[in-house]
Symmetry: C2
Subunit: 332 residues, 2 copies
């Protein structure tokens, strides 16, 4: 297996991305890696000779984190994410992993790899730690704005394959994000989606869930349109920022607070490990015809290592084929 790593994508690229790749290999990762990016810079970071199982592929350009994705890709042919995705298309790599501009990774996947047959629109998958200690998957987290009920049904099917293959969940439960539990809640789209999901015998449909049920782990999968999913994910992130700031500065900020933090250290460590986001930051784009894993722009080496592991697992468990199979056997 060979995985193309977008070495120039992310806030801490290329240094932390390269370190993540080295970490993956050092900790027993068996896939060969191709670091895609500015060769000279990458060689400088590795310093000594490039270790076995890792090669470098030159790509001179980069899509910036705040750049408009598809116009950047169209304008410049030699971006690291573009070249890495082309490698998957041409069979030179089995998967691509990137911490770069998510829109650009999605645009490259759609332009270069295209969609899986039977899937009309792609979805971005957000993983969350839940209070039940298992991950839950929120999608669409921002790929398809005006999703129809038919898109939602496809999202639910793709996420079911994802949770089965990558997280070993049997018959993952699906919740439809709504404003209340009753089937008659929501707007036009939610009403129609509820009916479709309830009628799909290949799904383990739980029913409607609310925004607050996400982190409680009420269902393994939480489906909604890309607009709502994106606003919800960022809104929850905003609250986390306020609390982390409050714990750090208000509670443990003053002199007594610093002593309190030392005394309460075991609890703080427990809390921090329960809130550890690293294992949840990476997920494959769903609906595109190849494995393309995105991770958080703030990824450092350890998070990047996990992104590569997710790509490896998606290839090994044949996720794309499973999604394609589900889409073709259930299409009307």
């Amino acid at each position: 297996m060979k995985i193309a790593v977008d070495a120039m994508g992310g806030d801490y690229a290329p240094d932390e991305i390269v370190r993540g790749a080295l970490l993956y290999r050092a900790s027993g990762g068996e896939a060969d890696l191709v670091l895609v990016g500015r060769e000279q810079e990458l060689r400088r970071i590795i310093a000594s000779s490039v270790p076995p199982g890792i090669t470098i592929r030159n790509a001179t350009d980069v899509v910036a984190m705040d750049e408009h994705p598809s116009s950047a890709l169209r304008r410049r042919g030699d971006t690291s994410i573009g070249v890495a995705t082309e490698m998957v298309k041409h069979g030179e790599a089995d998967a691509v992993a990137s911490a770069g501009n998510t829109g650009a990774t999605m645009a490259a996947a759609l332009l270069v790899l295209g969609r899986i047959r039977g899937i009309d629109r792609p979805a971005l998958c957000g993983l969350f730690p839940t209070s039940q200690g298992k991950p839950a998957c929120l999608l669409d987290a921002g790929a398809t704005m005006d999703a129809t009920e038919h898109n939602i049904l496809q999202f639910a099917r793709m996420a079911s394959r994802f949770m089965e293959r990558l997280h070993g969940v049997e018959r993952p439960s699906v919740g439809l994000i709504n404003v209340g539990e009753e089937p008659e809640k929501g707007g036009r789209m939610q009403l129609a989606a509820h009916a479709l999901l309830a009628g799909a015998e290949d799904l383990n449909f739980f029913g409607n869930i609310e925004g607050k049920d996400l982190l409680k782990g009420v269902t393994d999968i939480c489906v909604t349109d890309g607009f709502t999913g994106n606003v919800l994910a960022k809104g929850m992130e905003g609250v986390i920022d306020v609390f982390v700031d409050g714990i750090r500065n208000d509670i443990f900020g003053g002199a007594w607070g610093k002593i309190g933090a030392l005394v309460a250290f075991p609890g703080l460590r427990k809390f921090r490990s329960r809130m550890d986001y690293d294992p949840y930051a990476s997920a494959p784009l769903l609906g595109v015809a190849g494995v393309s894993v995105v991770t958080h722009g703030r990824a450092r080496a350890n998070m990047m290592r996990r992104a590569i592991e997710v790509a490896e697992r998606a290839v090994a468990t044949r996720l794309i084929e499973a999604i394609g199979h589900g889409a073709s056997t259930t299409a009307a």
Copy 2:
């Protein structure tokens, strides 16, 4: 001024609601209050003679917190929220305040009071404390599911009057909740709403904001449709629950944690006061032709006192007339 208080609405009704009314009067509140509910029960709670400025109006029925609002109101003529809202319609009270089923309060307001002329759909307003120490207003938090761009424009105008009159904010800034800052972001509705808001000269339109900007206080007002607003508000609430639980049980739960909490007490108090939600839990329904203030179902006496104060202020500052004036002068 006279305010009708739904004495039977809320998780801790009628006891805490009655105590809230007494607290309002005891702390200098000048409006006369009418407690609407089961007279015998209410008299039993007050025990001694009913204090001056407070009267009781009998209503035998209650809409339960989990009941379907409009069918309950149509089926039963003598509910506390129905009777209290009728009093506003007939000029026997200037406003109503309730901690009961929000859907029922909204349904009663729409059925009995109707909409303000020029306003097509009502909106529920959620107030949030921001890291800048001032409140921000999120609407619609759940009244109008499939809001159009024209509804969004009206929401922005109503909220502007609300923030001016009740929170003394001059030219409150309006942000449109979206998936990114650029004007071309979002779905069909957001694109159309952005154009309408940007063209409205009576508004102080900031542009697009993201879910995480809410608690940062980037704008005074955050507008969106009732579906997205409700999911977002509940999602943020869910994160708060997880963190409060984590602080209580993980960090300060064990033996060392309990000692740590004692040592870090000043910081904990600071954090708790910054997170105090009581002043933010109450807001008038926007778009209905009369002052109807809803507060959180978990309201205890102090939160209920604040709800009555919000009602008093909405009446004193002539909020309904201001909304009506804005709607009629700006209509096409």
